[in-house]
């Protein structure tokens, strides 16, 4: 009886350990360009579009290259070749997932966080049409 409980407990502990290891080895991380540059790993970088720098949008070739400023205020070029990109000018935050390759950040996924009409109409900045 005792031994069976022990075995069960050990099995659970082992399962949990494997889960943690697997999760941590598969997890990506939020980082900045500097970190991406140093490690070369696939990371999430969150930032804003830098409008004054040159941007190339070629939807017909599925090629986008633009400059982004990360949370540490470093500006770096981001390249995206995996399909269409939403409207950058609408996005208040950009979440790019990708790797640093040859002096630019090659994104595999881009999420645009838009102040969409779908969420919050009550955000403080928005004014009400008076009349």
């Amino acid at each position: 009886m005792k031994t069976r409980n022990l075995i069960l407990l050990l099995a659970l502990a082992a399962g949990f350990a494997i889960l943690l290891v697997d999760l941590l080895s598969n997890a990506s991380e939020f980082a900045d360009f500097k970190h991406a540059q140093e490690t070369g790993r696939e990371v999430h970088v969150i930032g804003r579009w830098v409008r004054r720098e040159e941007a190339v949008f070629k939807p017909e070739e599925s090629y986008y290259r633009f400059y982004m400023q990360d949370t540490m205020n470093q500006v770096a070029p981001v390249v995206y070749r995996r399909g269409t990109l939403g409207d950058l000018s609408q996005a208040e935050k950009i979440d790019v997932v990708g790797k640093w390759e040859n002096g630019e950040f090659v994104a595999s996924k881009i999420h645009l966080k838009c102040p969409s009409k779908y969420n919050d109409a009550a955000s403080p900045g928005k004014s009400i049409p008076h009349e």
């Binding site: 999760l23 997890a27 990506s28 999430h44 070629k58 269409t84 990109l85 109409a121 004014s127 008076h130």
Partner: protein
């Protein structure tokens, strides 16, 4: 304003009565004397509480229905265009409203308990009331001034500490006589308590008149006095260690409370807000808006409306169901807590059983409703995205199911009691945790759902910690008093299988919760982890094994229905279902192989094997073993799910055949069958999803799609058939998805005029006549031919009708309310003939209307449409259309220069003869000023044998000379004729002829097949039916026991 004040007061009442109820019920449960009086008080408080919550909801609904847009909540969640059902749904669109509906459900369940729970009532209702109080605090919307809060908290702390201290001080006189030469700490403490209380009360009294004693010696008095009190406590503590005659826990608690009071008297506090009220006016909600501050009663004419994506009937039923599920988890929790503190460790199980099953059933239904909604309208082919919001409701469900099995184990064999209590309690705490996750904004970056942080995160965290901490303390306190389980568990026993089931379910919950909680982990440990980049694959790799284990356990475990089954008889009973399942699995696998169906992750496995050679030895072994296991995982899952279905089916069969057993006992088996069916549905619909819209010519799409996507999306030029896998697709055209005005109805129709009723943007109702012509001539949707008949309302080109009404009556704003469009695509099934040639099966044609809405310049928001067959769904969504389509649709070109026609003059354009036959003045529609002159020109248009009579109108403002035209439109010719002006000198009527430019219209479509997805929905229904049976049975047993 008065409504708002009423609303505030009602929420205050709900809050206070919930607190009173909690205290009264607690006293009724604890105290020997006066229990009846306390209970009566609690009952009155609770009923008042429920009534005020109901009144708050009623009031808020009334405000929404009365379009009181001066209130922030009404303004930002509803609008004039909404139809009744969505106006109802507005209540729970916002966070405040969903707290209200949650409270309402708690209240309703509490009322049922009040009349059914027997001697459990005080304890259970005390817990319910405490939760209600905290939830009510979320909608209070009270701004507390720092000073008031400081003194109130101080008073509360002192009263509590003093209340604890006082009896001890009196006791200590006998217990510990001070040495004659020493200081009498007890007396000094009492003196200090008196002084502090006096100072605090004085301060509060003065504070009400606005004169805080913020400066001077009075300000420091409480601090000093508390310091003395603390010293007194320290002495008592010391003595209690010494003499072991004073109650240590109470001393520690009092000490802590005093410490807190001291901190409060010293620290700087800011004004803070408790809760967020739905009754704030715009001016109150937006202090930065100067216009509103100057006009506090300002009410906009329209609200911002309900999110268009949410305008779906599921929005009406899904949120209340989910919240009922959440609310129901409180009841078993309350039973556990009441059981713990009253020492009834075992007895809670019976009365809590039906409630636990009810909670799980409703929560499960709520979750699946969400999945179905996502599948039907919101998503790109998925019913489940492993999104944190979805997981947040799944995890409590899993724990609850685990707890249910542990409860069952205790009922049957007196085992796993602690586990049952822990899991049932954890279920509710996890509900609180998910509330915290989804409402505090902490998930911000990891979820597709958007969240509004109402500044409640602190309060939510407090709520979570109170119940987590309280639960932990109670369990710690009672752990060793719970009855021991001395009899050993045997391997082949019901309780061991139930135990395993609970363990596996708990582990699954932990796994899912861990990934979901990454933002929380980041906050606590300062890490920067993000979910695995291929999170779906991650979840699959883990959950497929859990699915296998659960299916297997649910098959084998259910055989223990006949209590202690021998190993041999167990195997005998399982024989048949096992063989049938194995056989079916084999047949299905062969069929899959023959049909060249490939499991979704097969390519991933191959990729992993390819990469093995380049790895180190350990990595090689790890990858090879791991991937090899995964290769078979889906087949094993298939077998286990089938086994579970057949095994449980055989049990039901036996039950039905056996006399004396009735259908109520089939609950467990039915739920297991349902779960097995769900697993099968998930396995097939997601694992064997198949792209129908195979693009044989991917180059045609240009580069705007990735390589992979280009092969899965087809371009469909208008009216040109394109053959894809199994179907010939023809895109027929697009039209607005919704009329630009709401509540559009046809009242009466004659040949000439049709009377329509609608509401305009400002919510005003109109009924007016428009030419019937407008309703009959949408070329796009008249070509349906032998296809599924398009309902009459759908066939109208609403944009055209709107355009007419706008011109004629100056009613509506010229813009369309929304830009959603329906894309009509016909599906003709293809059949290969014996000769290999492709033929169309005309009997099976159907039309789908996927919707899409442009979003910015380059992207779009799709809303899928699907064709449902018994063995699969065809699921279509728009992935692209020509940009700027909504602008180019009505493009016209002049076919001839403006011409002046006298009566009976003719104009010939491209073989079409246009003759002016008559001109007449017609009365101006009501509501248009006297200065307008409306004239109508009769034109006869002839081409070949065909003749059309049309009447373009011209309205001239005699004062300003401004012109308004109502053009005539001949769809067959694609012509638009305008009576553009009058040449008074030559006595000629000017006519313009324009032709519609055929636009390069196309749509890019993605069509996928989701095989056997109906098994998922069927499984959900069967599982729910199982739960219903179980509730029926348990509540029946309960009733029998009571009477």
């Amino acid at each position: 304003m008065t409504y708002g004040i009423l609303g505030f007061r009602l929420t205050d009442l709900a809050f206070v009565t919930a607190i009173v109820g909690a205290i009264a019920f607690y006293q009724a449960a604890q105290s020997r004397t006066g229990a009846r009086q306390w209970f009566r008080l609690g009952k009155v408080a609770f009923l008042t509480h429920f009534a005020s919550v109901t009144a708050v909801i009623g009031l808020l609904w009334a405000l929404i229905f009365m379009r009181q847009y001066q209130y922030q909540y009404v303004y930002s969640h509803s609008s004039n265009e909404l139809s009744t059902e969505f106006i109802i749904a507005c209540l729970w669109e916002g966070q405040e409203g969903s707290f209200l509906i949650w409270m309402f459900w708690h209240g309703l369940l509490g009322i049922i308990l009040l009349y059914t729970a027997g001697n459990w009532r005080p304890g259970v209702l005390a817990v319910v009331c405490s939760v209600e109080a905290i939830l009510a605090s979320m909608v209070l919307g009270v701004v507390v001034e720092a000073e008031t809060a400081r003194w109130l908290l101080l008073l509360l702390g002192l009263l509590l500490a003093g209340g604890l201290l006082w009896p001890m001080l009196s006791a200590s006189r006998q217990a510990i006589r001070p040495a004659p030469e020493g200081i009498d700490w007890a007396r000094l403490s009492r003196l200090a308590t008196g002084i502090v209380l006096l100072a605090v009360v004085l301060n509060l009294l003065l504070g009400m008149s606005g004169q805080w004693l913020a400066t001077g010696w009075m300000r420091t008095l409480p601090g000093w006095a508390i310091a003395i009190l603390l010293l007194g406590y320290a002495f008592l503590l010391y003595k209690s260690f010494h003499t072991r005659r004073l109650p240590l826990p109470q001393l520690v608690l009092g000490f802590a409370l005093l410490g807190l009071a001291y901190v409060l008297s010293v620290v700087q506090l800011n004004d803070f807000k408790i809760g967020s009220s739905p009754f704030l006016t715009l001016a109150q909600a937006r202090p930065e808006d100067q216009f509103l501050q100057a006009n506090p009663d300002f009410a906009p004419v329209n609200g911002t409306g309900l999110n268009a994506l949410l305008q779906n009937y599921w929005m009406v039923i899904h949120p209340p169901t989910l919240f009922l599920g959440f609310a129901a988890t409180l009841i078993p929790f309350a039973f556990v807590i009441a059981g713990l503190w009253s020492g009834r460790y075992k007895e809670w199980i019976d009365p809590a059983s039906p409630w636990a099953i009810l909670a799980i059933a409703i929560l499960g239904v709520g979750i699946m409703m969400g999945g179905y909604w996502a599948y039907e309208t919101l998503n790109f082919g998925g019913y489940w995205n492993w999104d944190p919001v979805e997981n947040a409701s799944l995890v409590p469900w899993l724990l609850g199911v685990g707890g249910l099995h542990a409860m069952l184990s205790y009922r049957k064999s007196g085992k796993n009691l602690r586990m049952a209590m822990l899991l049932m309690a954890a279920t509710f705490v996890l509900v609180l945790y998910s509330t915290f996750l989804t409402r505090s904004g902490i998930l911000g970056e990891s979820s597709v759902h958007s969240f509004t942080d109402l500044g409640l995160s602190g309060q939510l965290l407090l709520l979570l910690f109170i119940y987590l901490g309280g639960m932990g303390l109670l369990f710690a306190h009672h752990w060793h008093r719970m009855p021991a389980e001395d009899k050993p568990t045997t391997l082949f026993s019901r309780e061991f299988f139930l135990f395993l089931a609970a363990v596996v379910l708990t582990f699954t919950a932990i796994e899912i919760s861990l990934v979901t909680s990454m933002p929380v982990i980041n906050k606590i440990f300062g890490t920067r982890l993000a979910a695995p980049s291929e999170v779906q694959y991650f979840y699959y790799r883990w959950n497929v094994w859990f699915g296998i284990l659960i299916a297997l356990l649910s098959a084998v475990g259910q055989f223990f229905y006949w209590t202690r089954i021998e190993k041999a008889s167990l195997l005998r009973a399982m024989n048949k279902p096992f063989l049938i399942a194995a056989l079916t699995t084999a047949v299905v696998m062969v069929l899959l192989f023959l049909g060249e169906w490939e499991f979704a992750y097969q390519e991933k496995y191959r990729e992993a094997f390819r990469q093995v050679s380049g790895m180190g030895l350990w990595e090689q072994i790890k990858t090879t073993v791991g991937t090899s296991l995964l290769v078979f995982a889906d087949d094993i899952l298939l077998f286990c799910a089938l086994f579970s279905v057949f095994a449980n089916g055989s049990i039901i069969w036996r039950l039905v055949r056996r006399s004396g057993r009735n259908l109520r006992h089939t609950g467990g088996s039915l739920a297991h069958i349902g779960f097995g069916l769900m697993l099968l549905g998930i396995l097939f619909s997601s694992g064997y999803e198949d792209t129908i819209s195979v693009n044989l010519n991917p180059g045609k799409l240009g580069g705007s799609f990735g390589d992979d996507a280009a092969r899965k999306n087809v371009v469909l030029p208008r009216n040109q058939p394109v053959d894809v896998k199994q179907y010939r697709l023809v895109y027929r055209g697009r039209r607005p998805a919704q009329p630009p005005f709401s509540d559009f109805r046809i009242l009466t129709a004659t040949r000439e005029y049709t009377k329509v009723a609608f509401r305009d943007k400002d919510g005003y109702r109109f009924a007016l006549e428009v030419p019937s012509l407008l309703f009959s001539e949408d070329p796009v949707f008249r070509q349906a031919g032998s296809l599924k008949q398009v309902p009459r309302e759908e066939a109208y080109n609403m944009a055209k009708i709107a355009w007419y009404i706008r011109l004629q009556h100056h009613l509506l704003e010229p813009e369309m309310v929304n830009k959603r469009a329906l894309y009509g695509v016909d599906f003709y099934p293809l059949r290969k003939d014996a000769g290999g040639s492709v033929a169309i099966d005309t009997t099976g044609t159907f039309r789908l209307y996927p919707e899409a809405e442009p979003n910015g310049d380059q992207s779009l928001i799709p809303h899928p449409d699907r064709a449902i067959f018994w063995q699969r769904d065809l699921y279509a969504h728009v992935t692209g259309f020509p940009t700027g389509m909504e602008k180019t649709e009505e493009r016209w070109t002049m076919v001839a220069p403006e011409a002046g026609l006298a009566l009976n003059d003719s104009l010939v354009v491209d073989g079409v003869r246009i003759t002016a036959t008559q001109v007449e003045r017609i009365p101006v529609p009501e509501g248009i000023g006297d200065s307008e002159l409306l004239t109508q020109l009769h034109l006869r248009v002839q081409r070949g044998d065909s003749t059309w009579l049309v009447h373009p109108q011209l309205m001239i403002n005699r004062v300003t000379g401004g012109l308004v035209w109502v053009d005539a439109w001949i769809p067959a010719l694609n012509y638009r004729l305008r009576f553009s002006g009058v040449d008074t000198e030559a006595d000629k009527f000017k006519v313009m002829v324009a032709e519609r430019i055929p636009t390069q219209d196309y749509v890019i479509l993605n069509v996928i097949s989701k095989p056997w997805i109906n098994l998922l929905w069927l499984g959900t229904l069967v599982m729910t039916l199982g739960f219903v049976m179980a509730i029926w049975r348990r509540s029946g047993e309960l009733k029998k026991r009571i009477t």
